[in-house]
Symmetry: C2
DNA sequence: AATTTGGATGTTATGATGTAACATCGATCC
DNA sequence: GGATCGATGTTACATCATAACATCCAAATT
């Protein structure tokens, strides 16, 4: 079990050092994702903020907050699921390590696993051979978790 | 340039042998995808069928047709883009070879490339280590094509 | 040929995700 | 206090997708 408070304090400092602010609502959204082992949609996050903090955040704001948190490398968007998850490496200083996301198609449980450099290199090579440029090397894998299987 | 007609005839036979039918509208949708090097959304396919065949197909029908074509392994859904593309191996008999899709985030151009068994094995191993089961090993890579880069 | 039957398609309404444009709020700086 | 600028609110709308029910049509049966 990770300590949400200490992660939030770290994130706060990180934002401050970059000249941005982790506001109250941004904290609520980030905390919602930190305390969930499942990826959540924007609308699910609205519900979480309402239930846990009695805070009404309009959809537009949640999307903006999610954009902000992605920009701060605190949150990932899982495009195949249209849901969001906090970065696994949010607790430590590892940065720039590309990831493989295992997403349960039934319950949205997510695990983020580092991608070996050798794998990354091979995928990258394929992309270059096809005259494409890799923009965001985020591998999302359509899975079932052990509970749902 | 591949021969759309001969592919359609192959697909027709394949359906017949499975006890399904490649109807006129299903052919229109499949042809639309075959003749595009870009992935197309359901609504873009509606427009293509209207322009090329003067055929009005309601959205609901296009989605059903796309489901059917996926079931026949003639079409892929690219989840990260919410668009659809014809199978690259639709011309030959290769089956069951897992794919890596390079998708231009700007213009939706798609290339489907076979995934090496060694890569597949490694990804699969990661999934198992995390107690997940891989459902659909379709790697979608967020790229830019050379034209858009 | 008429009838039946089941899959394919049409219609309507609605849900889910996401964004554009513009208004307002609120913390910090002078 | 007032100016300023980023954060948030409001409204409207675009896009993707499906549920529920009606109808059509082609092949099989009589």
């Amino acid at each position: 079990m990770r300590n949400t408070d200490s992660i939030i304090r770290r994130a706060e400092k990180q934002c401050a050092s970059r000249g941005t602010r982790l506001t109250k609502k941004r904290k609520y959204v980030l905390t919602g994702l930190l305390e969930s082992d499942k990826a959540l949609s924007a609308y699910e996050l609205i519900a979480v903020c309402k239930e846990k903090y009695d805070e009404d955040i309009p959809a537009m704001s949640v999307y903006r907050i999610l954009d902000f948190l992605q920009g701060e490398h605190l949150v990932h968007k899982l495009n195949t699921a249209s849901k969001y998850a906090s970065c696994a490496n949010i607790e430590d200083d590892k940065v720039g390590c590309y990831s493989q996301f295992l997403i349960c198609r039934s319950c949205s449980k997510v695990k983020e696993v580092g991608l070996k450099p050798s794998m990354m290199a091979e995928l990258q090579a394929t992309v270059q051979d096809a005259s494409f440029k890799l923009v965001n090397p985020q591998l999302e894998m359509n899975c079932l978790c052990d509970d749902c299987a």
